[in-house]
Each structure stands twice: as structure tokens, then as C-alpha cells.
């Protein structure tokens, strides 16, 4: 199979150093300075985003605040402001929607769009459209916001192209230049190829991206011990295999706890808050759930998790919390907890829902409906479980890493 000879219609754009760049946009005094957005400002807080000025000094996402400070003592530490980031995300989505309606948010800072057969390409090339979008971002969102744009015949190569030049890049990978681009990349520059996969490829004599591209399917299947080898063969030739959007199978919320918490009594208010968030999102998407799952990561690195399926469907916060609390009793934590996560699974859409003749009818259906209406009108957690009262400072509004599920319904919740 040769490289896809069709024109590049796929564009992937990501906001460079998203959270940090948006903060520099908001506060011009921070521009040109090393800053980071961190989960907490304390020494052990994880860095979520670093400005380019901080990155140049070696400060990276995932580092602790203390490590960042040791590299640059004057490093400015900011807490995340999710409203601000969601606002910019929606503004960018609006700009993109002027060009195509075939687009998807891959995360808070990343969009993929397809312009095939759209009028935007009548008088402009893909690169022309990309340059125009960059301009619009500067005039309609902010002059400090830059995006890196990748153009290619498929999503995967568009992502690789977007990663090649940061910040403010515009790179195309197509049938005419792919060999040149591949010759300049290392295996681990490819999204999805980290040390483990690189080792698998090395074991079959594949050391470069060009080797990878030129390898026959049998060799790649042998390297990955699965059909994944065929997927890589197709992907690197510019054919689309990554377009499938997976159906939602669960809703969940988690929190990294910033203080020393170890008992069930201390954890239950946090669990109540998380459960309320999860249950509200479940109901807003018009689902019920039959399963509840609880996961706990302890500060010593050990992990506990358990899920339970019920005979009836759950939708109220109280019902879901009751099950989650039972799971917490089973866990019976006695050491410091770093993360706690609750999720609901085995989802049933309300419209396809068939009540069982003998099922337990939700006790608080009307109360739940009324409380959701009040919270929508007066703000999240205006009415909440009494148990969650003590957890407000532990469970903050956060944006999930990489995930896009939480962005569902964002449009309807924003102005």
C-alpha cells in the first residue's frame, strides 16, 4: 500500500501551553515570563501547564511546584481557572464552526476538523484557511493565544504535523513530503510510541520512523503481537482509522486530595461531593446507571478498587452515594489517601428505559428533579447532600486531562 495520494483535508489544532497562555492573555504583565498553572500552589502541587518561557528553562507539565521553583525561584504559580479555559475553548469552537461543522474537540485545547467539500476551500488552500483561523484567534480571542496546526490526509498525521513546530506552527504532511518529515522524527516523537512500544519495534529491527513506515504488515503484527500492527501500517500511510468516536460507557469524578485524609469519616464528605457531581452529569445526559465503582489510590502508591452492579437503576445522588459509601466501608481505608474516584457504569438511556415490573422505584425522583432545577437556576451545589458540606475545599472545579467527555453539554451550560 502506497501513501494516500488524496489531498489533505484534515486539520488538527492545539492551543500552545493552553492554560498558561490563556493566563498570559488575561494578564499582560505575565507575558514573556516563566509562569505555571498548578493544581495547588504548595510545594507538592503538580504543574498542569508551563508557559513557553518556563519550558525553555526546563520546567515541564507533571513536575512538582517545588521542582519548578528550584529551577526558577521567581517562577509565578497560578491556580487553574476552569471558567476562563472553557470560555476560550468555546470561542475557538465558534471560529472553527464558521469553516466546517465536521469537527470535534479532542480535549480542552485540541480540535480536529475536516474541510472536505466545504465552501471554505473554494477560494483558499488548507494552509490559507489555517492562516486565516490563526488571525481570527488573535483578533477574536486574544493576541497572545497561538495555536499549532497540523494538516494531513488523516487525523493521526495531522496530530504529528501539529507537534512538529511549537508554538504557532503550521506544518503539512502529504504524499510529497512524508518521507522527508519521517526522516527527521524519532520513533518516540510519534504519538502512541513511548519507550515500551519503541522497544517492541526495536526487537523486530525497526529503529527509525522510516524503518517503521517501510516495514511489512507481518513484521508490525509480530512487533505488537496484534492487529495493532496493521493499524500502524495504515496510519503511517495517511489513511483514516482513528475517526471512530467511542460511545460513553460511564460517568465519573475524581479528586487528588491535598491534605492528610485516611478514615472513612473524613473521606465520606469528599465522596458525597464527587457523587453529586457525577450523578448530576448522569441525569443531565438523560441516563440512569446500574453500576457504581469506587477507586482509591493511597499515598504509598497502593491501589484499591471495587465495582458493584445492582438489580435496579440509579439516578439520584442519594442512591448513588449510598452504594458508593458501602464500597468505601468495604475499602475501610486506614492509610493516607492521595486520590479517590467514583464512577457509575452500565448506563441506560431514559428514552430506551423499560421499567421492570418489580423494580424498586426511585424514592426521590421528584425531589431530585426539583433540586436539579434549583441548582441550575441558582448555581451548582446550592442544594446538596448534607454529608458533602465539609468537602468544598477538597473538591474544586477542574478540567480533566486529555478527556473530552466532560466537554459534552458545555455549550448548554455557558452563556
Amino acid at each position: 500500500m502506497d501513501f494516500n495520494s488524496k489531498p489533505s483535508y484534515v486539520m488538527l489544532m492545539d492551543i500552545n501551553s493552553c492554560f498558561a497562555t490563556i493566563e498570559q492573555q488575561a494578564n499582560p504583565f505575565l507575558r514573556g515570563r516563566p509562569i505555571v498553572v498548578a493544581a495547588y500552589t504548595s510545594a507538592s502541587g503538580a504543574i498542569l501547564a508551563a508557559s513557553y518561557e518556563a519550558k525553555k528553562l526546563g520546567i515541564k507539565t507533571g513536575m512538582r511546584v517545588a521542582d519548578g521553583k528550584s529551577i526558577c525561584p521567581s517562577l509565578k504559580i497560578l491556580l487553574p481557572d476552569p471558567h476562563k479555559y472553557r470560555f476560550v475553548h468555546l470561542k475557538l469552537a465558534k471560529i472553527i464552526s464558521e469553516y466546517t461543522d465536521d469537527f470535534a474537540a479532542k480535549s480542552i485545547d485540541e480540535f480536529v476538523l475536516n474541510l472536505k467539500d466545504y465552501p471554505a476551500l473554494k477560494n483558499k488552500s488548507m494552509q490559507g484557511v489555517a492562516r486565516q483561523i490563526k488571525e481570527k484567534i488573535k483578533t477574536e480571542i486574544g493576541e497572545w493565544i497561538t495555536v499549532s496546526i497540523g494538516i494531513a490526509p488523516n487525523r493521526y498525521l495531522a496530530k504529528i504535523a501539529a507537534n512538529i513546530k511549537k508554538p504557532d506552527g503550521l506544518v503539512e504532511i502529504n504524499k510529497d513530503n512524508f518521507l522527508e518529515v519521517y526522516s527527521k522524527l524519532k520513533l518516540t516523537d510519534l504519538t502512541g510510541i513511548k519507550v515500551g512500544n519503541a522497544r517492541r519495534l526495536n526487537s523486530m529491527g525497526i529503529y527509525t520512523v522510516l524503518d517503521f513506515y517501510q516495514s511489512p504488515i507481518w513484521k508490525l503484527k509480530a512487533a505488537f503481537h496484534s492487529i495493532t500492527g496493521l493499524y500502524w501500517h495504515t496510519r503511517l500511510r495517511g489513511y483514516e482509522i482513528d475517526k471512530e468516536e467511542f460511545k460513553r460507557r460511564s460517568y465519573g469524578n475524581s479528586v487528588a486530595i491535598g491534605r492528610d485524609v485516611k478514615t472513612k469519616a473524613e473521606l465520606s464528605p469528599i465522596l458525597a461531593r464527587l457523587t453529586e457531581k457525577t450523578a448530576f452529569r448522569l441525569r443531565q445526559a438523560d441516563y440512569k446507571a446500574r453500576g457504581v465503582h469506587l477507586a482509591i489510590v493511597y499515598k504509598d502508591g497502593t491501589f484499591w478498587h471495587k465495582g458493584g452492579l445492582l438489580q435496579y437503576d440509579l439516578e439520584s445522588s442519594q442512591e448513588i452515594f449510598r452504594v458508593a459509601l458501602n464500597l468505601l466501608s468495604i475499602a475501610s481505608p486506614k492509610k493516607s489517601v492521595r486520590n479517590i474516584a467514583v464512577s457509575v457504569f452500565s448506563l441506560v438511556k431514559h428514552d430506551s428505559y423499560q421499567p421492570d415490573l418489580f423494580e424498586k422505584v426511585s424514592e426521590n425522583k421528584d425531589l431530585t428533579k426539583a433540586s436539579d432545577l434549583i441548582n441550575k437556576k441558582w448555581g451548582d451545589f446550592t442544594l446538596h447532600l448534607g454529608r458533602s458540606l465539609l468537602s468544598k475545599s477538597d473538591v474544586k472545579d477542574r478540567i480533566a486531562f486529555g478527556g473530552v467527555k466532560e466537554l459534552e453539554g458545555l455549550q448548554s451550560r455557558q452563556p
Binding site: 488575561a26 494578564n27 504583565f29 476560550v88 451548582d380 452563556p415
Partner: protein, 77 residues
């Protein structure tokens, strides 16, 4: 620095031009970002602005039209 104090804001063409805080007027030189969010049905307009020496985060509650100076920072670390 978190402040959360009521302030008077002068607007021209829907854009803040000056902020009066503690009896002192600060001329807005630049608007970094104007974003909005809803808390229930209440829309909040957040203006991140600078004077010649200060960064200010202003919140206009569109229900009661009260301006709050939420944060203030000196130019510099």
C-alpha cells in the same frame, strides 16, 4: 492578591475605562481578556485588565450590576 471588594467602574462602549477603588481612580490601559460564566442563572462578566502599574480582575454580576474587584497584582512578581 485576593481582594473581593465592591468598586465603581466607568464603562465606555461596554468596555471598562477606569476603576475607583478605595477612593483612588485607576485608568484601564489594556483589557487582557473578557470572559463570562454562569453561576446558575446569573451571568458573570470577568474583565482581566491592567492600569499602568496594576493587574485587576473585575467581576460584573449581571443580576445586580455590582462590580467586584476580585484580585489585584502589581506589575512584577
Amino acid at each position: 492578591m485576593t481582594v473581593n471588594e465592591k468598586v465603581t467602574v466607568g464603562m465606555v462602549d461596554n468596555v471598562p475605562k477606569y476603576v475607583i477603588w478605595k477612593g483612588q481612580s485607576h485608568t484601564v490601559v489594556k483589557i487582557g481578556l473578557h470572559h463570562t460564566f454562569r453561576d446558575g442563572k446569573t451571568m458573570h462578566h470577568i474583565f482581566s485588565v491592567t492600569s499602568s502599574t496594576l493587574f485587576m480582575r473585575l467581576n460584573l454580576n449581571s443580576d445586580n450590576l455590582i462590580w467586584t474587584l476580585e484580585e489585584i497584582e502589581n506589575n512584577g512578581f
